[in-house]
Symmetry: C2
Subunit: 248 residues, 2 copies
DNA sequence: CTCAATTTGTTCGTATGTATG
DNA sequence: ACATACATACGAACAAATTGA
């Protein structure tokens, strides 16, 4: 008993929210199947070591998400599964990256020319003379799934303002004959939503996101494209095959 | 004003924790430099649209983490940066994967023979006759950074119980002459810590983790190795180069 | 040195949320 | 449903430390 209280101390999130997280994962992973009757409140009570009301609050949360359905006298049943899980596959090579963004619906929310340059890591090349900053949001089915914060070298942007304003920059850049991209370092980490990102992705402040940093470096060693992309964690996945990858 | 309250409604995490997350990220990203004086409490109050006490609670959180130092009459200063960020590089090919786990310090916490087989996705091969389940925790500097839940085909495990019990399974399998691995599909997603994982990684229940699913498929199409790995989000990073990758 | 401005620290009262039994 | 306890959040007032005119 009382298994969770020490964890509660660790995370500062309300207990019933923690309990709800675990139960949500059980539904999602299929440990609790759709239509199935889950454990009674009393069983859950003793399993999690929390009070009855706390379990009820957690169930209420999942009920409002459409995952559970509690019926007096009968029990609590799984009524649905979370949607939109991991349908986005982050690209592993530049061709599929270009392919995947070609058909994206995006909305530019902010553009500013001649901004402070981004900070570059050791392997991310050298700074261009100046940058234009673009922020856009990608939508799927009217739901936002990623926010792109992008620095493009000023001279590149100047070549086709209109195009960069209305469609994905990476496609345009790879099509340019006079630019050769020789490196494209990418780093994927887990980050937290800042106020702007939270607002655009419609998630809570401080909630986790999949963060992707992608830089395109031309044959002069200049970082002509520097992107910080925040993906909604529920639609993000990165698939690869370690064997196909290594035999070349 | 009152910018955050709608976000608060979205996430159910205490407001001061949300504010602390944002401020922590500012320190980490270098927007607030080490030694620098940050905005006054009153400025933060109006920026975040929350009460004074809420800002103070957030600052107190970061103070206890060693990131901020508030001095009466002077202001609040950045006193350090978060440690242990992204030092683990998830492998992109099987050789570096084997290399990286060779020197790992791990602790087996649970072994069970003849368990229920894991559920396999479409591209993850066919089930072996039976499986042995192994759970281990990886440590770095006495800090846990990943939990590995592993199913090994029973016949493989039987070949060298001792070895599988005491060191990394993947190394052993790749060394075996009579087994040829032809596919190694890997999927990386963002998950949440269940009670066992939270306990082993010493994090809060429901906190995000980087989840890696790795399957080794032999030349008969059998999934001989099925791993679900949960990484501590703070030490996880996946680095690659989209260009080097695509030219082979 | 003193004074005023600035900034963090502390406390009160109130309201609501969370958790237990 | 109820009683109790504690956490969270607000607004406002006042105290204490620091700084510079």
């Amino acid at each position: 008993m009382n298994k969770l209280v020490p964890n509660y101390e660790r995370s500062r999130v309300p207990l019933y929210v923690q309990v709800a997280s675990v139960m949500r994962q059980r539904v999602e992973a299929g440990r609790w199947r759709e239509g199935e009757k889950i454990s009674t409140i009393e069983e859950l009570e003793s399993e999690f070591g929390v009070a009855r009301v706390t379990i009820r609050q957690a169930i209420e949360m999942l009920r409002s998400e459409g995952l559970l359905d509690a019926q007096q006298g009968r029990g609590t049943f799984v009524s649905g599964r979370p949607k939109n899980r991991h349908w986005l596959n982050l690209a592993n090579d530049i061709e599929s990256m270009v392919d995947s963004v070609r058909s994206n619906i995006l909305k530019r929310v902010y553009i500013e020319e001649d901004v402070e340059p981004p900070q570059l890591a050791a392997n991310e090349g050298r700074l261009a003379d100046g940058y234009t900053f673009l922020r856009s949001v990608q939508y799927n089915d009217d739901e936002p799934f990623s926010v792109v914060n992008l620095y493009i070298a000023r001279n590149l942007y100047a070549k086709d303002r209109k195009r960069f304003t209305h469609s994905a920059a990476i496609t345009k850049i790879m099509e340019m004959d006079d630019i050769t991209i020789v490196h494209a370092p990418q780093v994927v980490t887990i980050g937290v939503a800042d106020p702007e990102t939270a607002e655009l992705l419609k998630i809570g402040l401080g909630e986790p996101t999949a963060d992707c940093r992608l830089v395109l470096i031309d044959n002069n060693g200049i970082a002509v494209y520097v992107a910080d992309i925040h993906y909604h964690r529920n639609c993000f996945a990165l698939r690869s095959d370690l064997i196909e990858r290594s035999r070349k």
